[in-house]
Symmetry: C2
DNA sequence: GTGAAAGCGCTAACAG
DNA sequence: CTGTTAGCGCTTTCAC
């Protein structure tokens, strides 16, 4: 595996010329470039980011912090980030907090970032003040994607607005009794988003005079399996709502299954609406409020690269868009028909 | 953000001493170490992997290549890898092939690896000969996790054995008519695994004299939503099997939903078994053959770090274990009861 | 125990 | 258009 120096020696050129030729800097003659390229591939030259980085101070890498990868939302954001970063010539260094959550130090502690990355994109992560201080020390651009992060500029949907849209859809159809499958979970890092969505649900319901029975406010911890269980329990009782608003599509899919097993017809007996626009939503014919999660990751990636390369850093970002997609799981409630 | 040189100057020591102290090399006196540590944190010292790497040739980073992140299996492997690598002081550089699949060059082309990583872990990816040659050029350890990869040593379950175990469970319960929800998909990169599982299904069935109707061999493309649709279609027809073997739990969950909507009772009318041990399997009370996917990633990580640090590279690995977990979705078929 | 010096592979002025 | 000369921040002989 050759170095630039060896190519230079081989060709009787200087290292700088070779370096320039390799990087396609205009001031080099066509022939030289061709010569260098040829020698490079013949000698199996592989550039070293470390060396380049040492001298330029640019690593061409971005750190991506996620609470875990086993949630569709997070991995979709990462996909979007990776796709865009790759196109821009940047690598992604992944920091999965999943394990480090309990006990040990989390991996974005100063010692672990070690200036490997030029910027950091944070997904649904709440920092302790210490962690925040250590990150700030690096003095590199940081952006959050998804739920708003304290102290960071965030790219994401307005959680209140998206939940209101979902809830209002059922209200507009005539539902007067609504249940919520929320994402709140004491373990969860996405607390903010979950409680924001919960509040928006209650607000919308109250505003329309829909009475919300506290026993109809469930928590599915943003997990399909958990949602399935709590919904099964609710619909095994004597009174239940005709409309079920789920704070995520994964939970909505769990709910659909529970209802089906309980012998209830969707949407004849119960309407179900989700939030997020999960890849499976269409196959389950699920009505939902879609947001383009990959695109949000992509947007964060583009923005952060711009900032790495000197663009100004805006104070905050436009909230991401969302759209009500009406499918087959919502309809007017039984009484109204 | 200070450098080692600044700490040295501040303390009137040499760079070497500071470097040694920081790395905890024994030959340094207690007091010096304490002094250096103190100065380092006071001056906000953050080490530079690039500089260290340049001089040692070690990056303390491992590249992880995945076909995509939106599949539970892949992201679980990545989680396992990340967890272990983090504990060993290595970073993971992610290469998500998802986007680069069609058209563009895939990111592990030589130019993109640029010696950033000390080793590569590959998940369910088939290389072209060119790609393989470029990777070989880097001359660093490589291991595959999951489905066997041509030319690479692989850590993973025996796909034939796990499928045989699942199929035989239904046969042992007395089922004489079996259907398969396979993962085969012309787009997919996991072709090998899918067809291996499909063959094992057929073998087990034939061996026990169970007739397999070709119209009962479905493909769910390893996706819950797709599986749900194809199963719904099958059970809307006049004849269907009493046992459904699904090549993944995600597809099994889709199947459960479809059956429920078709008005069929599981396991009274139809038994369903999955494979993999998805996080949701328990909540859905799904019988399955579990494999510890995270542990496989973890094992790959431990192994590759050992190899980076000079351990010998075994020719091949013991297949990973799996276990039949009987839950509520399987029972003897109607006729037998 | 600690220091001096050389070098890892590349880029970046500054010349010419 | 190309070469010279310094580094980038760290580790590593080899001395003392």
């Amino acid at each position: 595996m050759a170095t630039i120096a060896q190519i230079a020696a081989e060709l009787g050129l200087s290292k700088s010329t070779v370096s320039r030729a390799l990087r396609g800097i205009p001031s080099i003659s066509q022939e030289t470039v061709a010569l260098v390229r040829e020698a490079a591939s013949r000698l199996d030259y592989v550039p070293s980011v470390a060396a380049a980085g040492l001298s330029t101070g640019r690593n061409h890498a971005v750190g991506v912090v996620v609470p875990s990868l086993d949630r569709w939302f997070y991995s979709s954001v990462v996909s979007g980030i990776d796709r865009t970063l790759a196109a821009l010539g940047y690598d992604v260094v992944l920091f999965d907090l999943d394990h480090s959550h309990d006990g040990g130090k989390r991996p974005f502690a100063r010692s672990l970032l070690r200036r490997r990355v030029d910027a950091v994109i944070v997904i649904a992560t709440v920092f302790t003040p210490d962690e925040f201080a250590e990150l700030a020390l690096l003095d590199i651009p940081m952006i959050a994607v998804g739920p708003p992060a304290v102290g960071l500029r965030t790219i994401g949907v307005d959680d209140g607005a998206i939940m209101a849209a979902a809830t209002n859809h059922l209200i507009d159809l005539g539902h007067r009794s609504l249940g919520l499958v929320g994402g709140y979970d004491s373990q969860s890092l996405t607390v903010y988003s979950a409680s924001e969505r919960e509040h928006a649900f209650t607000r919308s319901a109250l505003r329309s005079g829909v009475v919300v029975d506290p026993t109809w406010m469930l928590s599915g911890a943003y997990q399909s399996g958990v949602a399935q269980q709590v919904v099964a329990q609710l619909y095994a009782s004597s009174s239940w709502p005709t409309g079920l608003v789920c704070a995520s599509d994964e939970m909505a899919i769990g709910a659909l299954y529970a209802l089906s097993r309980a012998g209830l017809q969707v949407p004849h007996d119960v309407s179900v609406i989700g939030i997020d626009g999960h890849i499976y939503a269409e196959a389950y014919d699920l009505t939902t409020c879609t947001q383009d999660v990959q695109e949000q990751g992509s947007r964060a990636a583009r923005q952060i690269v711009a900032e790495i390369e000197g663009a100004p850093a805006p104070e905050n970002f436009e909230p991401a868009g969302f759209e009500l997609v009406v499918r087959g799981t919502t309809a007017p409630p039984p009484q109204v028909r």
